[in-house]
Structure formats: C-alpha cells, structure tokens
C-alpha cells in the first residue's frame, strides 16, 4: 500500500474540537494577562457604566462631582475599551500569523475552520461573555429589562471578527494598526468620491451654482433588504478572504478583496442611497 493511498483512506473531519481547544489553550498561555485584564475590564465596564450620566452619578455618589472628572472617566472607560479590544484582537490574530511563511503553525494540521472557531470562542469568552454578565448585573440593579443585556453582542463579535481578519492580512501588530487607519482613510476617500461624482453630475445637469440631489435610490438608505444583502456579502467576502489567505497563501489578493469590499460598499452606498 502506498503512502498516497493510505493518505486517501484517512479522511479528517472539517473541525476537531480537541484541536480547537488546544489552540485556545495555547493562545491563553500566550495572552494570559491580556485576556484576563480584557475580561475583567469588559465585565466592570458593562456592570457599572452604560450612559454618560452613569459617570456623573458615580462622581456624585463619591461626593466629588465638583472635580469635573466625568469627561476623563468617559475617556478612560468609554473610549478606552474599543481601543483596548482592537489591540487585543490584533494580538490574538498575531498568535497565528498568517502572512509570514516562517511560522510553525502554518505546517501543522489545523484547518481554517478550526483556527477561526478557536479565535471566535476566545473572543466570546474574553469579550462578549463578560460583557453580557456585566450587562445582566447592571440591568438587574437598575430594574431594566434583562433582554437589553444581550443587545449588540452579535455586532461586537462581528466587529471583532472583522478586525481579526484584517489583522491576519498583515504580519505585525504595528502594521495591523496602520492598516486599520489606512482602511478608515480609504473608506473616507470612497465616500467623498461618490459625493464628488454626484456634485459633478449635478453641475453638469443643472449648471454651476445648482446642486440638485441626484441620488438614484434615497429611499433605500438603511433599508433592511440592502443591509441584509450587504451583511451576506460581508460573510461571503470574509470567507473567500480566509480561503485565499489560509489555503492558497495569496495574501495580497486576499487583502485587496477584503479592503476593496468595504471601499466599494461605501462608494456604492454614498452614490446610490445616501442623499447629497
């Protein structure tokens, strides 16, 4: 029996949970303190602060309202977590660098599905679960409806997944931050370009000084069908990006596809749906 035929006989499943668990254990060894700190922060944030007035209330309860620390607290607890979470997701992606051919894990029997599953479970445990737990406590203390505790968690998980994917397209955390900034610039350019086209067409049609709104489908702005199509498109593009990156090692093509999707979406939304 040849090696090839033996290889064909042993069909591996798409995802092995023991492999997923092993990757999670490895990541927690590598990011132990960051993960713990992230989970505690998310829990504390969700349990204590939901609105800007929560900061004022805390100051008042401590009898230090006069110090005007509300805005500083807001900066630390309101803006800090998204930044810290972004960095955590970038670090999590970098524990399995996909863009550098020297990394050991690339030649290990890890399927793309196992890799993504392990990261999503880690993100859920470190970010989403503490956030929900904190929310539940906040809602109970404030006698608010408990279902609100689960609001936005899918959106947060999706955002984390997108940052994770974007981080996989670059080789270092520093570059990941740069690319994230670059993406925001690109989105701005795409939006501005669409606006400029509409203005230019408006001038051509109505003459200088006139700015008629030529948005073809303004009523479809934020329409649920459009959002559904965009959401499905995002999942499809993310899947293809991962396949190009992890199975085909085509990092450049994967990067352009992923970033290009957002830019194209921004451009089309501004051109077709957003009123001028």
């Amino acid at each position: 029996m040849t090696v090839q035929s033996r290889a064909c006989e042993t069909a591996e499943p798409l995802m092995r949970w023991q492999a997923v668990a092993s990757i999670i254990r490895k990541d927690l060894h590598l990011l132990g303190l960051y993960a713990l700190a992230g989970a505690i922060w998310m829990f504390a944030m969700s349990a204590l602060f939901h609105t800007y007035t929560d900061f004022s209330a805390l100051m008042a309860s401590l009898g230090i309202s006069g110090l005007g620390l509300d805005s500083y607290l807001f900066a630390v607890f309101g803006i800090g977590p998204p930044v810290a979470l972004t960095l955590f997701v970038i670090l999590l992606a970098q524990t399995n660098v996909a863009s550098d051919t020297r990394h050991d894990w690339l030649i290990r029997p890890i399927t793309p599905l196992e890799l993504v599953a392990s990261k999503m479970v880690t993100l859920f445990c470190v970010i989403v679960a503490p956030m929900i737990a904190g929310n539940v406590i906040y809602m109970m203390v404030n006698a608010a409806p408990l279902e609100e505790a689960f609001a936005f968690f899918l959106l947060i998980l999706t955002c984390c997944a997108l940052v994770l994917l974007l981080s996989w397209l670059v080789s270092t955390p520093f570059r990941a931050v740069l690319v994230l900034l670059g993406v925001f610039v690109l989105l701005g350019v795409a939006g501005a370009l669409a606006g400029a086209i509409k203005v230019a067409v408006g001038i051509a049609v109505a003459g200088a000084g006139e700015r008629p709104d030529l948005t073809p489908f303004p009523n479809l702005d934020e329409n649920w069908i459009v959002e559904l199509v965009a959401g499905i498109g995002l999942y499809v593009v993310s899947g293809i990006t991962l396949w190009l990156l992890l199975a085909r090692r085509k990092r450049v093509a994967a990067s352009w596809l992923f970033v290009g999707y957002f830019a194209a979406q921004m451009f089309l939304r501004n051109l077709l749906f957003s009123p001028l």
């Binding site: 591996e12 092995r16 254990r25 490895k26 060894h29 051919t101």
Partner: protein, 300 residues
C-alpha cells in the same frame, strides 16, 4: 512518487528564484537538496509545503497538488526550517501539549525519547532557547506523529558539531520508514543517510540522481604529463574547473567510466601521460566542485 514537480517556477520581482524545476522523490528515499546560497532550495521547499505560491508549473506532495494541501496532508508531514518561528512565550512542555491533540497519530513514546535524547527541559520558554536548542525542539516536534514525509530546510545550520551529531542521530533513529527531503550545507553529516542528490544552481535543478550514480561518475582527477603537454588544449565541458600546475592537470570529471578510457582521452587531447590518479569524491567535494564550476561559468 511522494513528491513530484513539473516546471515549478517562482519569481521575486524580476529575479528568478526557481526556474522550471522538475524533481521527483520516490517513497522511502532520502533526497539531499544541495547548492550554494541563493540557489532556490528554500523557495522550492516552501512551495512544496504551500507556504509560497508557485508562479508556474505544479507540484504534487503525497499525491496532492501542493496548492491544495490541507490538514489531512500536513498531519502526515514533518517540516523543519532553520527560520521556523515557534510561539515564543510557550514553554517546551506547553508547546508539545499544544501539538499533541493536533495529530491523531502522535506517539508519546517517540516524543519522550527524542526530548530525552535532545535534553529538552520542559519548563524553559522557547524564546529563551538558543538557536541550536530551538532547532532541536523543531525536530522533536516533527517526528512523534511518524510522518510519511519529512522536509528539512537547513536543519543543521548554525549548530555545533556535537549538536549536529545529536540531531542527525535523533533523525535517523526515528525516520527509518520516512521519506526525507533535506536541504543542507552540512554535507558530511547527511552523506551517510542520503540516497539521492539534487543539486540546484541559480534556481535550476542541475543534477538529480542517486548517490551511487553521482559517486560513480564524479572523480577528482590528477594527471601528470611527460614532455610538453598542450596546456591550451580545449578540454571537454564535463571536466570541471581544470587547473594546471606545471605539467600536472587537476580537474573534476562528471563522466567517469574507467581509468583506461580517461587515460586515452587525456593522451589524445593533451599529450602522453606520466601518471594518473582518480579519487572518489565525497558529497561535500562533489558539491564544492559543482558550485565552483557554476560560479566560474557565471563569471564568464
């Protein structure tokens, strides 16, 4: 064939890193991929492992297109590279604990034996290990799942003589049924285990044959001539790097058959022979002669 490539090509910008190589590695063979720095060995191995995408041509590894290697094939491959990056904050024990569940065929006895043989301390962080110890970890992590194919890219690079012996000892002890493709500059160490030789120069595969065939046709020749030899005579291209020292000509022949035939050729081309010696060459000397000859060609 465990590995088969057809016109495999890779360019980096305008530079041809690998130019249309066709290589085949039979089951059970140990193929030594040799050549000077920049010959394209590492790029070839990375393409075979689907770490790099080829620009043209194709490669099949374990019967599968190398671009479509999946976890199923990787579970039957052991790969070690001198540049391999391990998770730095893990200890040796944590690293092996992470690897074990990834392989259904992981053999704890083999792992324990290699780790004992290489004296790998369980509590040491991988980032704190020397290059030699890291290479030992890589090798120890490439064998316990009993891979059908072992691909080693300069596994002995930067290691001292003692560690090289330990690494080769560990490798030989646990890879008796494994097909090995090995690139290395440490030819003395790999000569004893190599069954085939593939020599690369500037991205091209120049020689690809069994060690016996190479040993049979390569000879270090020293010929002394009586009278006035024709020093300016045009010599066959198969005689590499000819050098005159007085009436003595030294060169490496790549087409040796027997002394009688060689004597006849020398006498007809250069002049009457006074003495002739033809010495068998080690893999290291063969490689040196080839590298020197191709460098000379390139300089011309």
């Amino acid at each position: 064939m465990i590995i088969e490539t057809q016109n495999l090509t890779k360019k980096f910008g305008k530079h041809d890193a690998v130019s249309g190589i066709s290589l085949s590695v039979p089951e059970g063979a140990t193929v030594a991929l040799i050549g000077a720095n920049g010959a394209g060995k590492t790029t070839t191995l990375r393409m075979l492992m689907n770490l790099l995408a080829a620009d043209a041509g194709e490669a099949r590894v374990l019967g599968v297109d190398s671009r479509r290697l999946t976890a199923r094939e990787y579970s039957r491959i052991g790969y070690v590279s001198e540049n391999q990056r391990l998770p730095p904050s893990l200890t040796t024990e944590q690293f092996f604990a992470y690897l074990r569940p990834l392989y259904s065929t992981w053999d704890r006895t083999v792992e324990d034996d290699i780790r004992r043989r290489f004296e790998l301390q369980p509590g040491q962080k991988l980032a704190h290990l020397s290059h030699g110890m890291q290479m030992k970890v890589c090798l120890a992590a490439a064998l316990p799942h009993r891979p059908a194919l072992l691909v080693l890219d300069e596994p002995l690079s930067g290691l001292d003589v003692l560690v090289r012996d330990e690494v080769m000892g560990g490798l030989l002890a646990h890879s008796d049924e494994t097909t090995v493709l090995l690139s290395s500059h440490e030819l003395a160490e790999i000569e004893s285990c190599a069954t085939h030789v593939a020599f690369m120069d500037k991205g091209r595969l120049v020689i690809h044959e069994s060690v016996e065939d190479v040993a049979a046709r390569f000879r270090e020749v020293t010929a002394g001539f009586a009278g006035d030899p024709k020093v300016s005579a045009r010599l066959p291209e198969k005689w590499l790097t000819p050098e005159w020292n007085g009436r003595t000509l030294r060169f490496t022949t790549t087409a040796y058959t027997d002394d009688e035939e060689l004597s006849r050729m020398l006498a007809s081309l250069v002049g009457p022979l006074a003495h002739l010696s033809t010495d068998p060459m080690s893999l290291r000397d063969t490689s040196k002669a080839l590298i020197r000859a191709y460098r000379k060609d390139a300089a011309r």
